[in-house]
C-alpha cells in the first residue's frame, strides 16, 4: 500500500514539474510564436544552479568525490529563487538569435544546436558540474529537520510543487489574457505587421524568453530537490521535442491544453512504459517510446493540428453571437455594405489633432536609393508629402512604389538617402517607433492577424494601451480593464461604420479578400496615424466598394489626416488623389494633378498607355 502512495507522491511532483515546463514553453511557442527548441537548457540550468546552491563546497562535502562550482550551502527557498533567476539570465544571450528578423525555423535550429552544444560542454568539462557523471546527493529542502524519505515529506513536497504550478498558471494567464497577450499573439501571427503597427517585437520576444526561462529554471529546481541528482543524460536536446509533442497534443495557445499535454505525454509515456516487462532487447522499449513521440507529433499535426484543447476564440463584442458564415457560392465582397460611415466623426474617433488648413510638408525623402544585391530598385527618389492631402504614387509594375513606401515606413532600410518626418531625420528609426510617432502603413498582401478575431485585430492597433506591456499586464484587469473596454467600444464603432459589425468575433483569417482589406484599413486607422501609408488598398476590392473607400479617405483627409497611397487603378487616382507622383524604373518621372500628368508625353508613354 505505502509503495503505491510513494509512487503517487512521485507522480504528483513529476506532473507539476512537467506542467510548469509545458505552460512556460506554451507561452513562448503557442502565444508568442517563439519556437524555443532549446527549452531544456533553461530547465537544466535551473536544476544545476539549485543543486550547487544547496550543496556545500565540494572539497569538504562527501569526501570530495564530485566537483562543481559554487557550493554555497544555502537554505530553502534561496536555491529555488537562484534557479529561477539563473533561468532568466540564461535567456539573455539567446535574444541575439530570436530578437533579430531571422527566419523562425533558423532561430529554432540555432536554439536546438545550442542545447546540444551546452550538453556536450557540461558533459566533458568536469569542474563545472561534475561532467558526465553528474551531481548526486543533492540535499532535499529541510533535509536535516524532516526525513525526505518519509511519506508525509513527499506529499508535502508534491503539494508545494502543485501550488507553485497553479501560481505559474495564473501568472501566465494574467499575461496572456491582457492587451499585452493580444500583442504577443499578433506578433505570432505576423511579426512584420505587428512591428509596423508599433509593437516592439524584439522586446516582446526577449521578455517571453526570459519569463519562460525563469519558470523553466524553477521547474528544474523542484525536480532536482526531489530526485537529488542531475546529469547531462537527463537533459538531452530531444527532451525539448517531448515537451513540444506535449503542447501539440494538448493544444498550443491554450494553458489548460499545455497542462493536459504535460500529463499525457511526458508523464503518461514515462509511466506507462514502466509497466512493460523487461525484454531480451533492453533498448527496445525506450526506442519505441521515441518512435511513438515522433509519430504523435506527425499524426497530431496532420489530423488535429490545434490539439485536444484548441486555442480559445476571444469574444470581445459582448454579444453571444455565433461567427457568421457566408453561404457557399456567394461572392461575399458584394455583400459588403459600408454602414453609417457618413455620420462618423473621424477627428474625434481617431484623435486627429491640428489645423486642417495647414498644408506644409510633413514627410519627405531625399535621394532615397535601394539596391537588392546589385540591382537598384529605387534610385535617387526625392518626394514631399503635404499635410492634409491624399498623395498618389503610381507607376508600372516594378517601378519601385512598394519599395519606396516600405522605406518610408521603416520596413526596409534604404541603401542610401534620408527621410524626414515632422522636421526630424528618421532614416534610422525602427519601424515600430515610426508607427508610434504616427506613421502607419498597410501591406500589399493580406496582413491580418489570422487567429485574432476582427475586433481583436482592430483593438491591437490602438496605441498607448496601459495593459500593453509586461508590467501593465501583470498589474491585472483592474489596472487596464476599464480602458480596454473603452478601446473595444471605439473599435466597435469603427466596425459599425464600415458595416462589418456582424463579423466582430470572427477570426480575421476566415474573411473574404475585400473584408480583410477593410479590416486592415480600419486597423491602420485605429493606430491613430498622422500619416497613413497605403499600399494598394483597393487591390482585389470590388470597384463599387473601392470608390466608397475612396470617399472615406477623402473625408479623412478633410479632417486633417495625411495619406500617401500606392495604387494601380487610375480611376481611383483620377477621382481622389492630388497630387500624384509617377515612378518609373525606380525614379520620379513626374508629379502633378492627374490632368497635368495626362498632358505629359513621357508619362503617357511610360505608363498610361503601356
Amino acid at each position: 500500500m505505502s509503495a503505491i502512495l510513494f509512487y503517487l507522491a512521485t507522480l504528483i511532483v513529476y506532473g507539476a514539474v512537467d506542467s510548469m515546463a509545458c505552460l512556460a514553453l506554451n507561452v513562448q511557442f503557442g502565444f508568442a510564436g517563439l519556437s524555443n527548441f532549446g527549452f531544456i537548457i533553461f530547465q537544466a540550468g535551473g536544476a544545476y544552479v539549485a543543486a550547487i546552491l544547496s550543496m556545500g563546497n565540494w572539497h569538504k562535502s562527501n569526501g570530495g568525490f564530485q566537483q562543481y562550482v559554487l557550493g554555497w550551502h544555502l537554505v530553502w527557498p534561496l536555491p529555488w529563487i537562484g534557479a529561477a533567476l539563473f533561468g532568466g539570465l540564461l535567456a539573455i544571450p539567446f535574444t541575439l538569435l530570436v530578437g533579430k528578423r531571422l527566419r523562425g525555423d533558423f532561430a529554432a535550429v540555432g536554439l536546438l544546436v545550442s542545447a546540444v552544444l551546452l550538453n556536450q560542454l557540461v558533459n566533458n568539462f568536469v569542474p563545472l558540474f561534475n561532467g558526465a557523471a553528474g551531481i548526486s546527493i543533492v540535499p532535499a529542502p529541510f533535509q536535516g529537520k524532516w526525513d525526505p524519505q518519509g511519506l508525509g515529506y513527499q506529499f508535502a513536497y508534491g503539494g508545494v510543487a502543485v501550488v507553485l504550478c497553479v501560481l505559474v498558471y495564473f501568472l501566465l494567464r494574467r499575461v496572456t489574457e491582457s492587451p499585452y497577450g493580444r500583442s504577443l499573439r499578433a506578433m505570432r501571427d505576423n511579426d512584420v505587421v505587428a512591428d509596423a503597427l508599433g509593437k516592439n517585437v524584439q522586446v516582446q520576444r526577449t521578455s517571453m524568453l526570459i519569463l519562460g526561462g525563469m519558470i523553466a529554471g524553477l521547474s528544474g529546481a523542484i525536480l532536482v530537490g526531489f530526485i537529488n541528482l542531475w546529469s547531462p543524460g537527463a537533459w538531452g536536446y530531444a527532451e525539448t521535442i517531448v515537451l513540444f509533442a506535449a503542447i501539440i497534443v494538448g493544444g498550443a495557445g491554450n494553458h489548460k491544453g499545455a497542462v493536459l499535454g504535460a500529463l499525457l505525454v511526458p508523464l503518461g509515456f514515462e509511466e506507462a512504459t514502466r509497466f512493460i516487462p523487461p525484454l531480451s532487447n533492453p533498448a527496445l522499449v525506450p526506442a519505441l517510446e521515441w518512435v511513438a513521440i515522433g509519430l504523435l507529433i506527425i499524426l497530431f499535426l496532420w489530423f488535429r493540428p490545434d490539439g485536444i484543447l484548441p486555442e480559445r476564440r476571444r469574444i470581445l463584442s459582448g454579444s453571444k453571437s455565433v461567427p457568421v458564415t457566408t453561404p457557399p457560392g456567394v461572392e461575399s465582397d458584394s455583400l459588403i455594405n459600408l454602414g453609417n460611415l457618413d455620420q462618423m466623426d473621424f477627428r474625434q474617433l481617431l484623435r486627429i489633432e491640428g489645423d486642417t488648413n495647414d498644408h506644409g510638408t510633413i514627410l519627405s525623402c531625399t535621394n532615397l536609393t535601394r539596391a537588392f544585391h546589385g540591382v537598384t530598385v529605387v534610385s535617387d527618389v526625392s518626394i514631399e508629402v503635404q499635410r492634409g492631402r491624399l498623395t498618389g504614387l503610381i507607376g508600372p509594375n516594378g517601378a519601385g512604389k512598394s519599395t519606396t513606401l516600405a522605406m518610408l515606413a521603416g520596413t526596409l532600410a534604404p541603401t542610401s538617402g534620408t527621410i524626414h518626418y515632422e522636421g526630424r531625420d528618421i532614416t534610422s528609426m525602427p519601424s515600430n517607433e515610426r508607427a508610434k510617432s504616427g506613421m502607419v502603413r498597410t501591406f500589399q498582401l493580406a496582413s491580418e492577424f489570422k487567429k485574432l478575431t476582427v475586433l481583436e485585430n482592430l483593438v491591437s492597433a490602438i496605441p498607448r494601451q496601459s495593459g500593453d506591456s509586461l508590467p501593465g499586464a501583470l498589474r491585472g484587469r483592474r489596472f487596464w480593464g476599464r480602458e480596454d473596454g473603452e478601446n473595444i467600444e471605439r473599435a466597435k464603432e469603427m466596425l459599425e461604420g464600415f458595416g462589418l459589425s456582424q463579423y466582430a468575433d470572427n477570426y480575421a483569417g476566415g474573411l473574404s479578400g475585400g473584408q480583410r482589406r477593410l479590416v486592415e484599413i480600419m486597423r491602420a486607422l485605429l493606430a491613430e496615424p498622422k500619416v497613413l501609408l497605403l499600399d494598394e488598398p483597393m487591390a482585389g476590392v470590388h470597384p463599387n466598394l473601392a470608390h466608397k473607400i475612396g470617399d472615406q479617405l477623402m473625408a479623412l483627409v478633410k479632417s486633417g489626416m495625411t495619406i500617401l497611397m500606392v495604387e494601380h487603378e487610375l480611376s481611383i487616382m483620377d477621382a481622389f488623389c492630388d497630387p500624384v507622383i509617377v515612378l518609373a524604373e525606380g525614379r520620379v518621372l513626374a508629379q502633378g494633378t492627374m490632368s497635368e500628368l495626362r498632358a505629359m508625353k513621357e508619362v503617357v508613354e511610360a505608363y498610361l498607355v503601356g
Partner: protein, 291 residues
C-alpha cells in the same frame, strides 16, 4: 608540424564525407525550402542497408554501396511524397515542417534502433594498405572516400551547370512560381531533387559508417550539426558554398582535435554555426535575398 599535417589529413577525409552529405542537404533546402532535420536518420538507415548487404549478404562492397544509395534515394522520395509535400500544401509556417521533420527523425532513428538493437556494429574488412604523402597518412579506404567525394562533386557541378534538370533546379530554387510560369515542371523537378539528394544522403551515410568503422543506430544524430554549420557557412541553399563550407568545417574540427582536446572537436562547428546564424544567416558569400 607533424600534428598539423596528420590532422589536416584526417580533416580532408572528414570533409569528404561531410561534403557529400551537405551538398545533398542544401539541395533539398534550396529547391524545396524544407529544412530536413530527418536527413541524419535517412543517412544511418542507408548505412545499415549497405552494412547488411556487405557483411551479412556477402555482396561486394561497391554493390552494397549501391544498395545504400538506393535506400537513401527511395526513402527521401517517399518522405517528400507522403509527408513533406502534403504538409507543405497546407501552407503552414516553415517551423511546422521543421517540427514534422524532427518527428520523422525520431521515428527513423529509433525505429532502426528498435530493429537492430542498441549495440555497436563494425566493418571487419581491412582498411587496405597504408599510404603516406607529405607526412599525411591515408588508408586505401580513406583515399577511396576522397576519390568518391571528388567524383560526386564533379557530377553535381555537371548536373547544375550543364543539364536541363540542373538549370530547372536552380530556377525553381530562385523563384518557384516564376519557374512554373516559365514552363518548368516544378513538381517533377522537386521529385528529382529528392531522389538525387536522397542518393547523396544514402552515399554519405554509407561512407560515414565505413569511415568511422564502428557505428550504431544513433551515430548520425548529431551529424546534422556539422552539416548545418557547413551549409550556413557557405550560405543556405548554395551547392558550391556547401562544398567550401564542408571543407572548412571538416578540416577545422580535425585541426582543433589535434591541437586542443579531441573531446571538444565539434565545438568549433557549433560555434561557427551559431555565429553564422546570429550575424550572417545568408552565409559568408550569400546575399540577403536567399533568406
Amino acid at each position: 608540424m607533424s600534428v598539423f599535417l596528420s590532422s589536416l589529413g584526417f580533416g580532408l577525409i572528414s570533409a569528404a564525407v561531410l561534403a557529400i552529405a551537405t551538398v545533398g542537404f542544401t539541395l533539398q533546402f534550396a529547391v524545396t525550402n524544407v529544412l530536413n532535420l530527418a536527413y541524419g536518420s535517412v543517412m544511418i538507415n542507408s548505412a545499415f542497408v549497405t552494412y547488411y548487404l556487405n557483411v551479412h549478404a556477402h555482396l561486394n562492397a561497391w554493390v552494397a554501396m549501391v544498395g545504400g544509395i538506393a535506400t537513401g534515394a527511395v526513402a527521401s522520395y517517399l518522405l517528400n511524397r507522403f509527408v513533406f509535400t502534403p504538409f507543405q500544401r497546407r501552407n503552414l509556417l516553415p517551423i511546422t515542417i521543421v517540427i514534422v521533420a524532427l518527428g520523422v527523425d525520431l521515428c527513423g532513428t529509433f525505429g532502426l534502433q528498435a530493429i537492430v538493437g542498441g549495440s555497436y556494429f563494425s566493418y571487419r574488412q581491412s582498411l587496405g594498405r597504408e599510404l603516406h604523402f607529405w607526412g599525411m597518412y591515408f588508408s586505401t579506404l580513406q583515399l577511396t572516400i576522397i576519390g568518391i567525394c571528388l567524383v560526386v562533386m564533379g557530377l553535381i557541378h555537371w548536373l547544375l551547370k550543364h543539364t536541363r534538370l540542373g538549370k530547372a533546379m536552380r530556377a525553381t530554387s530562385a523563384n518557384p512560381s516564376l519557374a512554373r510560369n516559365s514552363g518548368v515542371r516544378t513538381g517533377h523537378v522537386i521529385s528529382m531533387t529528392w531522389l538525387i539528394s536522397g542518393a547523396l544522403c544514402g552515399l554519405a551515410g554509407t561512407v560515414f559508417a565505413m569511415n568511422t568503422g564502428v557505428f550504431e543506430a544513433t551515430s548520425a544524430q548529431l551529424y546534422i550539426v556539422l552539416m548545418l554549420a557547413a551549409m550556413f557557412l557557405g550560405g543556405p541553399g548554395e551547392a558550391y558554398g556547401a562544398m567550401l563550407g564542408a571543407l572548412t568545417i571538416g578540416v577545422a574540427t580535425e585541426l582543433s582535435a589535434g591541437f586542443f582536446n579531441p573531446q571538444y572537436k565539434e565545438v568549433i562547428a557549433f560555434v561557427v554555426l551559431l555565429a553564422m546564424l546570429t550575424f550572417r544567416p545568408y552565409g559568408l558569400f550569400g546575399s540577403e535575398k536567399t533568406i
